[in-house]
Symmetry: C2
Subunit: 230 residues, 2 copies
DNA sequence: AAGTGGTCTAGACCACGTG
DNA sequence: ACGTGGTCTAGACCACTTG
């Protein structure tokens, strides 16, 4: 009936983080230290840390320690961010130095890409890999595809984002330096132009500790409706 | 260097689920059975199960077993769902019998509610608690607040949803029968009318295994922009 | 009575980062 | 050399469900 020890420990630490007692970026006590303080075994302390990781409050660095997330209250807002470059977005979010690097290459449309864009299998597409880091820490990586000749989303009028928690693909895991078994926040984006043509798709991964929440703002098109929440 | 045993086990099971070999709702082998089959200790099997739980593929019922999620590919789409009642939404999502129960009461505005709605502290508000279940399994619970006199979101033209993974509040945890330490998907909704007045806020919780992903469809308002992904 | 998952203990080895 | 987190073992007790 009482709450488990690891929930209590996580709650204690969460309170200290939210109150500012444990500021962003600081190293938490080691697992053995937490275990000692709370009079439990190290496994329990680890479980508490895993719970906080899943909430994005803590980032674990193997052989270094556990650290409070750099921006425990940072929120990712859509579609505001679609209206600006990655550089501008991260510049707004951050005061630390942000690095964005891009690699562009031409690829042949896979079956999936061909169907999405309504082009032929093997048609040429542009692939852009964008890696962003802040203060040396990786904060995002994305894989973007467009039919050859279309660049950017200036002509897009509609956008869809699909948010899920997934094991990262190896290339994303490597950049984000995630430990095997660590989940990441993934966003699959699609952009359409006014004619209804899909002009870009993108797969983005964020470390769990990057954002506290994901916000989406939408206009409601009136129909017959009662509306409600659930 | 090699991937940990628990990742491999989770991958094996995930493949069996995605391929349909392990159909939705079925009970997985017990932890001791999984451990035996893979030649590892039970702790490792449990860790694999936790990884799958975090992805929403598996639901764990204490003292019963682990079960494949009922709808491993179900997606929650916004804002479509805001246009219809909870009953209609769940009816579309499901062929099983869905139960929705509502409790309405009048409450006094807390400081938070008063500020949100632009009313005075202690002013009367409507609170609606909505609980939904499907085939006896709880699938959502929400707490909705509106200023007295406003019912529903028929007049809403804008909507915001804030998605995060959180420890549930006790009332939500109880309905969802979540184990202490289990996270839930939370959505904090806000609705505004054409005059820019906030007319409804709602806190919704879903079990981790309810949805595979959350989809948001948004119109892009053109400005000066370069656009891009990150 | 047997089986199950949840919690917890008390160890162990490894690889790597830091001093 | 030491501390760290990641992985793993081999047990234990509890509370509850199922047969």
């Amino acid at each position: 009936m009482p709450e488990p020890a690891y929930v209590k420990i996580a709650g204690d630490l969460t309170r200290q983080i939210r109150s500012g007692e444990l500021p962003p970026g600081i190293q938490l006590p080691s697992l053995s230290e937490i275990a000692r303080r709370h009079g439990v075994s190290e496994i329990v302390a680890r479980k508490a840390m895993e719970l906080m990781q899943a909430q994005g409050l803590v980032r674990s660095q193997p052989r270094r320690g556990n650290f409070v997330a750099e921006r425990p209250n940072l929120v990712r807002v859509s579609p505001e961010r679609q209206m600006e470059t990655a550089e501008a977005t991260f510049h707004h979010e951050s005061d630390e130095e942000t690095q964005v690097e891009r690699h562009t290459e031409e690829v042949r449309a896979t079956a999936e890409l061909a169907e999405a864009f309504g082009i032929a299998l093997g048609d040429r597409c542009t692939r852009v890999v964008t890696r962003a880091s802040e203060g040396g820490r990786p904060i995002s990586i994305s894989d973007t595809y467009q039919p050859l000749g279309i660049v950017g989303v200036d002509t897009a009028t509609e956008c869809e984002e699909r948010l899920a928690d997934r094991l990262p693909v190896p290339s994303h895991a490597e950049w984000l330096r995630s430990t095997p078994g660590d989940l990441v926040k993934t966003i699959h984006q699609k952009f359409w132009d006014a004619e209804g043509h899909l002009i870009m798709i993108s797969d983005i991964s964020y470390p769990m500790d990057r954002y506290d929440a994901f916000v989406f703002r939408m206009a409601l098109k009136r129909q017959n409706s009662q509306g409600g929440s659930e």
